[in-house]
């Protein structure tokens, strides 16, 4: 458990050292979400309708953008080797890295999303559901993404291959997440969508760190 | 047997594009795939044969030089 916290601390420290990193991931989210009104035109009714989808896709893409860096630096400079040889169980260290990734790339999105939602003219209750769906969904994105990042580590054409592997797996999260927000703004029940998201999350929390660890061990061979 | 003529058969009750488009695509791909696989297999065999020939030549050279 200590080792997990140590990894989280280390990754947060590294991110803080590259001060811009935390902020820019947020900025990316903001900019992507703002591109759509530009590309699509400023009709408010239309914007309101596409808002949940656009915000969720933006969250998904900005998570994706950070994924290749998740293990690449540690792999290149040999730190990953050292982790694999450390007396602490590798899965624990990896879980720590995933947690840190969520804290850096997921949590800020959750906090910022309501603000962007305002831009798209969403109302209070809908904004709340938006945040809630992102709170359940972004850890899922980090967990699934970590598996993809581990599988494509050190592989030729890694970055794009990663997107290819991970995006299909993100689709259910996207559907349930955006679905919940849409259901809310259409006045329908949201429990169904949210509980499915929660179930997926529970599954991933137990399963993903192991799969990621296995994939990393293979990458190190 | 409920087709009165060949033309009717090919017309598929007005759905010709869709029915033949589907069956045609299936036929095309299902025929093409085995051929591609066959070609791959033959290529592997050819490469192996070439390699063995080269090896045999190596051995001959060894004998001669000795």
């Amino acid at each position: 458990m200590n080792a997990l916290l140590a990894t989280v601390r280390r990754d947060l420290l590294l991110a803080l050292r590259r001060k811009s990193e935390v902020l820019t991931s947020l900025f990316f989210f903001v900019i992507v979400a703002s591109l759509f009104p530009l590309g699509i035109g400023p009709e408010p009714a239309l914007l309101k309708k596409i808002a949940p989808g656009v915000l969720w896709v933006a969250a998904l893409l900005s998570t994706l953008l950070g994924l290749p860096r998740l293990f690449a630096a540690d792999h290149l400079d040999g730190t990953l080797e050292q982790m694999a040889l450390s007396p602490s169980p590798l899965a624990l260290l990896i879980a720590g890295k995933i947690l840190a990734h969520w804290l850096l790339c997921g949590l800020p999105l959750v906090l910022l999303a309501p603000l962007l939602g305002l831009q798209f003219a969403l109302e209070g209750q809908t904004l709340f559901i938006l945040s809630l769906s992102l709170l359940l969904g972004t850890p899922l994105l980090s967990l699934i993404g970590a598996m993809g990042a581990a599988l494509t580590l050190g592989v030729r054409g890694g970055g794009v291959l990663l997107a290819l592997l991970v995006l299909p797996l993100y689709i259910p999260t996207l559907i349930f997440g955006a679905g919940a927000v849409e259901a809310q703004s259409a006045g329908l029940g949201v429990e169904g969508h949210l509980s499915l998201l929660a179930a997926l999350l529970a599954l991933a929390v137990f399963f993903a760190p192991w799969a990621t660890t296995a994939a990393l061990r293979i990458a190190l061979e | 047997m409920h087709w009165n003529s060949v033309g009717e058969f090919f017309a598929m009750g007005g759905y010709a594009l869709y029915v033949w488009g589907s069956f045609g695509a299936c036929a095309l791909l299902l025929v093409a795939e085995p051929f591609l696989v066959r070609r791959r297999l033959n290529e592997v065999r050819r490469n192996l044969a070439r390699e063995r020939l080269a090896e045999a030549l190596d051995h001959n050279m060894d004998h001669i030089s000795r």
Partner: protein, 202 residues
């Protein structure tokens, strides 16, 4: 003396090339092994196999009489490879403390500082590693030898990029480690400032 590390009939192939087929050796406490061979002979491959980073084609590795995969081998092992394994954005001090934390060791700042000073990095503790010279980066990595207790040191070309003072220093460190009853497996193309050890020619 009983052998602590026993390796028997290891084999390794890369691509279609058989690098080595029948490597066996054993090391007792206080002994060290110098793995030698030309560029590409398979020294790095052997070391990675030994520490368990890649699987062997055949052969066994025993640590204290137990198969290494089952023994609590990682706790006794310190492997430093070709890679720098230090974070460019962190300072040497942070690098050292954090890698100790990942190993589950609590390292006091004074101890870390002392290790860095011993390695001649006085005055560089607080610079980001990025700006250090090639040799200084290696020294940051080598400081782990002083902060992480381990019975078996496996060092791959650790003497690279070091100036002659640092080579002497590293030799002395390994010497002390052996005197304490430690074991070491080293590769190097240079002659080493160490008492004669076992040799393995690949």
């Amino acid at each position: 003396m009983p052998a602590m590390l026993k390796v028997s009939r290891l084999a390794c192939s890369r691509g279609e090339r058989q690098l080595f087929a029948d490597v066996s050796f054993s090391l007792a406490a206080g002994e060290w092994l110098h793995v030698q061979g030309e560029n590409g002979a398979g020294k790095t491959s052997l070391l990675r196999l030994l520490v368990g980073l890649s699987p062997a084609d055949a052969g066994e590795i025993y640590w204290r009489g137990v198969a290494a995969s089952e023994a609590d081998f990682h706790r006794d092992l310190l492997y430093l490879g070709h890679h720098a394994a230090v974070k460019d954005d962190l300072t040497p001090l942070e690098n050292l403390c954090l890698s100790a934390a990942l190993d589950g060791i609590h390292l006091h700042e004074e101890a870390a500082l002392a290790a860095l000073v011993r390695l001649g990095l006085r005055g560089r503790e607080a610079l980001p590693v990025r700006v250090l010279s090639a040799g200084q980066k290696r020294r940051v990595l080598l400081a782990r030898l002083l902060t992480r207790p381990a019975a078996l040191w496996v060092l791959d070309e650790a003497f690279n990029a070091l100036d002659s003072g640092a080579v002497q220093l590293l030799g002395a460190l390994v010497g002390e480690h052996l005197a304490r009853g430690g074991l070491a497996v080293l590769t190097s193309h240079q002659p080493l400032p160490l008492p004669a050890g076992k040799r393995l020619m690949l």
